[in-house]
C-alpha cells in the first residue's frame, strides 16, 4: 500500500470497515419467508416462496427439490433509470447467487418441488449481489427451509494499490493509477467455505489472498447482524 493514490475513503471509513448495516426479517407477510438487508446506500429485499410443486413438470427433479433464484434491480435503484426485466447482468447474478445458496440448502426432503427466491434491489450503491445474498440467506432461514448453515457475503476490492472492504459505487469506479478491482465473495457460517468468489479487475495473487482474509473477517460481522435479525423476529414485532 505504499504510494497508493487512494489513501482516504470518501465516506471516512477505515480501509477494512464495513458500511453501517441493517437487517430485518419478516417484511413481507404473504411470503413464506422474507428479509431485507442494507449496507450504506445499498438495500436488498429477498422473498422466499415454497417448497411448492414445480411446473413445467419436465424441470422437476425426482431426487430432490430445486432452488431458483431471480435477481432484479428496480428501475429507480440507480441514478439513471435501469430498464426492468432480465438482462445479461441480472441473469448472471441470479445464477451465481443460486449456486452460492445451493451449497447450503438441503432440499432432499422435497422431491419434485421448487423453492423460489426473489431478490429485488430498491436502492443501489455497489455490492448489490452480496447484499441480495445476505438477505436471501436470512429469508430462506425464515421460510424454514433446511440449511446446513448460513451464508454471509461481502465485496472486497482494491482501489489503485489499496485493499478495501465493502466497496461503494465511488470506489468501484475509481480510475486513477491501477484503477479499481471488485471481488464479491460469500462465506458459509459454520465450515467457513467460500460459496462465491468473483473478480473484476486486476490483482496480484498475494493481494488477493489478503483481500479474501479481510473479507472473511467482515463476513463474521455480517453473520452477527443476520443472526440478531433472525433471533429478534418473534420479539414482539412479528406481525407487520
Amino acid at each position: 500500500m505504499v504510494n497508493s493514490l487512494y489513501t482516504k475513503r470518501s465516506d471516512g471509513r477505515k480501509m477494512d470497515e464495513v458500511r453501517p448495516m441493517k437487517a430485518k426479517v419478516g417484511i413481507v407477510p404473504s411470503a413464506d419467508g422474507s428479509a431485507s438487508f442494507e449496507t450504506g446506500g445499498t438495500k436488498a429485499i429477498a422473498v422466499v416462496r415454497g417448497p411448492r410443486t414445480l411446473h413445467p413438470q419436465h424441470m422437476q427433479n425426482p431426487q430432490k427439490g430445486i432452488l431458483r433464484v431471480s435477481y432484479g434491480m428496480m428501475p429507480f435503484s440507480v441514478w439513471d433509470r435501469i430498464r426492468p426485466g432480465p438482462s445479461r447482468r441480472s441473469e448472471e447474478i441470479s445464477k451465481v447467487v443460486e449456486w452460492a445458496l445451493s451449497s447450503v440448502v438441503d432440499l432432499s426432503e422435497f422431491p419434485n418441488t421448487v423453492v423460489d427466491v426473489f431478490i429485488q434491489i430498491p436502492q443501489a450503491d455497489a455490492g448489490t449481489r452480496v447484499a441480495g445474498l445476505n438477505a436471501a440467506s436470512m429469508a430462506l432461514a425464515h421460510a424454514g427451509i433446511p440449511m446446513k448453515e448460513m451464508v454471509s457475503a461481502i465485496a472486497v476490492g482494491k482501489a489503485d494499490k489499496t485493499l478495501i472492504v465493502d466497496v461503494n459505487k465511488e470506489e468501484e469506479d475509481f480510475s486513477e493509477g491501477e484503477g479499481a478491482t471488485d471481488i464479491p465473495m460469500a462465506l458459509t457460517s459454520r465450515t467457513k467455505n467460500i460459496a462465491l468468489l468473483q473478480l473484476d479487475g486486476k490483482i496480484s495473487p498475494n493481494e488477493l489472498r489478503e483481500a479474501i482474509n479481510m473479507g472473511k473477517k467482515a463476513c463474521g460481522d455480517i453473520l452477527k447482524v443476520q443472526m440478531d435479525a433472525l433471533k429478534n423476529v418473534n420479539g414482539g414485532s412479528d406481525n407487520e
Binding site: G144, M147, R190, L230
Partner: protein, 240 residues
C-alpha cells in the same frame, strides 16, 4: 415433554456438544456437536435434540388434521391441495363409504373441500384418510387461511380457545394444522364475527394472557359468553 433448554437457533448454529446427544428433526451431527438445520426453537429432551420451526410453510406430520381442496381426480382416488409442498392423496378405500371407481366425481368433485387426517408422510407424497368421525366433506360455511405457525394458539390448551370461541358465537369451528379454518354457523353474520375473533387470536398470538384478551374482545363485540346451540362434537384440538 420436559424442556430443559429452549432457545431460538439459526441454521449452522451449535445447539449442544457431546456425543451422547441424538439429532432429531431439524438437527444434524457435525463431529462432536449437534447443529441446527433449520431456523426455530431448539428443544432437548432425553438427549434428543429437535428444532421446532417458528415460521415458514406447513410441513405435514402423521396424525395432523388438515383441510384441503380437491385439485385432481385419479383412477383410484383424489389429489388434495392443502398448501404444502406436495399434494396429498386420498384413496377410494380411505373414505367412509363404498364408491364405484367410475363415480369418484359424484362423491367429491374438483374444487370441493375436505377435512382429512394425515395417515402417512413419505418422501414421495402424503396419504390422507377421512374414515374417522369428524372428518369428511365440508359443505356450506366459510373457509379461510391463517398463518399455520399460529394454529396451536387458536386451538389453545386441549382445545380451550376453540371452545371459548365456539361457546361465544355458536359457530362450529374446524381448524386444520395447515392453517385452514372452516366455520359454519346459523347465519353469515355470526360466521364473520367468528372469523374476526380468530384473526384477533392470530394477530395477538405472542402476548401474555391471551385468553383474557380474547374474552374482552368477545364482550366488546356484544356477545355474552355462551350463546345457544353449542355443537359439542367435532373437537379436533387434541393434537399438538
Amino acid at each position: 415433554m420436559d424442556n430443559e433448554e429452549r432457545q431460538i437457533v439459526v441454521p449452522g448454529e451449535t445447539i449442544v456438544s457431546g456425543n451422547e446427544y441424538l439429532p432429531g428433526d431439524g438437527a444434524y451431527r457435525d463431529g462432536n456437536e449437534v447443529v441446527s438445520k433449520r431456523f426455530g426453537v431448539s428443544n432437548i429432551s432425553d438427549k434428543h435434540v429437535r428444532v421446532i420451526p417458528v415460521s415458514g410453510t406447513y410441513y405435514p406430520r402423521r396424525g395432523n388434521t388438515i383441510i384441503g381442496t380437491v385439485v385432481d381426480i385419479t383412477h383410484n382416488g383424489w389429489l388434495i391441495d392443502f398448501g404444502g409442498a406436495q399434494n396429498a392423496f386420498l384413496g377410494v378405500s380411505e373414505v367412509p363409504r363404498y364408491i364405484n371407481k367410475n363415480e369418484l366425481r359424484e362423491f367429491l368433485d374438483f374444487g370441493e373441500s375436505v377435512v382429512v387426517k394425515v395417515w402417512d408422510v413419505k418422501g414421495r407424497g402424503i396419504d390422507v384418510s377421512m374414515k374417522m368421525r369428524g372428518f369428511g366433506k365440508l359443505e356450506g360455511g366459510m373457509l379461510f387461511s391463517v398463518n399455520p405457525n399460529k394454529v396451536p394458539r387458536i386451538i389453545g390448551k386441549e382445545g380451550s380457545m376453540v371452545k371459548l370461541i365456539r361457546d361465544a358465537t355458536g359457530c362450529e369451528i374446524t381448524v386444520g394444522q395447515n392453517g385452514k379454518v372452516w366455520i359454519s354457523g346459523s347465519d353469515v353474520q355470526k360466521e364473520i364475527l367468528t372469523r374476526e375473533i380468530i384473526e384477533f387470536v392470530v394477530n395477538n398470538a405472542t402476548i401474555n394472557g391471551l385468553t383474557e384478551k380474547v374474552e374482552e374482545f368477545i364482550k366488546s363485540k356484544g356477545l355474552k359468553g355462551s350463546d345457544v346451540e353449542i355443537v359439542a362434537e367435532n373437537t379436533d384440538g387434541g393434537e399438538e
